[in-house]
Symmetry: C2
Subunit: 343 residues, 2 copies
Amino acid sequence: MNLAILFGGISYEHEISIVSAITLKKSLSKENPLFIFLDSKNNFYLISPENMVAVNFSNGDYKKEKKLELTNSGFQHKTFFGKEMFNNLKVVNLIHGGQGEDGTIISLLEFYKIKAISPNREASVLSFNKGLTKIFAESVGVKTLSYQIFNINGKRKLNIIEFPIIVKPLSLGSSIGVSVVTKLSDLDYAFDTAFEFEDNLIVEPFIKDVKEFNVAGAFTDKLVISNIEEPQKGEILDFDTKYMDFSRGQTLETIDISKDLEKQLFENFEKIYMPKFIGSLIRCDFFLINDEVYLNEINSIPGSLANYLFTDFPNLLNSIEIPQPKTASVSYKYIDKIQRAKG
Amino acid sequence: MNLAILFGGISYEHEISIVSAITLKKSLSKENPLFIFLDSKNNFYLISPENMVAVNFSNGDYKKEKKLELTNSGFQHKTFFGKEMFNNLKVVNLIHGGQGEDGTIISLLEFYKIKAISPNREASVLSFNKGLTKIFAESVGVKTLSYQIFNINGKRKLNIIEFPIIVKPLSLGSSIGVSVVTKLSDLDYAFDTAFEFEDNLIVEPFIKDVKEFNVAGAFTDKLVISNIEEPQKGEILDFDTKYMDFSRGQTLETIDISKDLEKQLFENFEKIYMPKFIGSLIRCDFFLINDEVYLNEINSIPGSLANYLFTDFPNLLNSIEIPQPKTASVSYKYIDKIQRAKG
């Protein structure tokens, strides 16, 4: 099995994915993975480790590297003389947002029978759309804040009457298009901002200075849960701050919280993760309100895979169990039967 | 726009998809669509209209036809002398079950920027998994029967105590692996049967002689709803019967039901379809119990697209609106900013 980091992709988080891959290169120095870049024109390139620097992508120099094509069971590089195959891969889907987190990339890899550490298609769909995340969380017994979904063509009539509220595009990450609204007269501007990115948005109450806790985890032969992080931040993590956040590599120490809260956080993480997210490494961001844990959001492909929350990240990544889907068999027994009946 | 029927695919319904495509060829004789076959080895072939006969697939003769490859914005056929491109396509996703209905195929087409009449990825995931269908239906105010989901590794402890019950693999169609169980001693056999096909199954009460009504529809510039069908059948539609069902081409007349029931069926269909299923033609199968409508299941790619339920099927198919996804822009402004800061 050759580990391969797949990054880039068409999304607002294209750059963030590059930074995330560069960070993982440092955390995985002994694993010596392949780096496969998906550019904005849907082309794949195999990037040499020494060229894993941000400027190589922004100036287009990556195009001088080996161009890859998807094929059954791997990627191939075609030359005048023949094909070079890259198979027996374990691909880490590190395409944040868009294609990576909405289920497109994992569908592509699955179609071509390439093993991947990634949320599967169902888990992607449930975590990508914040409305479905709420419905899913409730169905497994995890609390979430009240909410309301708006479409670009619909009426802008709020059921939530208390301000402040937070307005988010329904399925983007990294705070893109997000606004906190403190009074009704600012609502239209916040809606217009969110609708620039997406046709649907979600409104939730905004709780100032709410306690937040992030927990990551993955299933190996058991569920491995990370250290708990209490993110330090201003009102909203802006894009610049988040960008820096994706380049974190240093392991974070466990924070000092009560055993009871730790238990609550772990239990809620497990309810979300098991069994839907087996095969992936995710981070759940929780709120603590009146001593009760609420799910804020699921990061199905967290920045640099939240490596800094784990004590032995390389070992964890190598041990993640990738479930093998049962493959349907294709037969022609009915057509054959009819042919025989025809004589 | 060139209409192209995509059929075959890896699923237990591979053969059914072939029959379905042959049926659509008859319904769309004036449209003269392309026929693209996906075989069990993940290869695409362009099938000449005269070879759209069942035996051509079962005996492997289709391999003599033009082999196609997916590429940006279409399919290509490579020869020694160059490439033949098939683009400007409107692909009809007619791959029943498996890859077609679970969201894989539409993800592939979306990745390569090929327009398609198909449930989108989110709608596919919600209709493919019968448990998620229940949760989704409830969230839009459509009733469903009570249910319980079992995993192959879990305990077989029933919460539903009244027999008969119906046991179904969680995400297969066409009655594959389905059993009606009338007494507890038959339960294990029914579970084993379903688990042969899939690791999860769903149990629901089985209501003998329940009234059933099928309604299909699609969004053009408005929601077009089909004639209503009351399927005539035995206890369960077995695979043979369903197989024949997929080859239906003759338009069905509207049945005689009360205006109130018709209204209820249409309203429930609309709740399911709008807006999640825009871009697709689906059939919803409803039960009528104590004068109330319950969703039985969503057929997100019904056999031969339920052409027999519509009075002008070719015109409907040509008018289905395919929404264009908002594409994220890829920029390098943050990387550029950092480079500038470095000097």
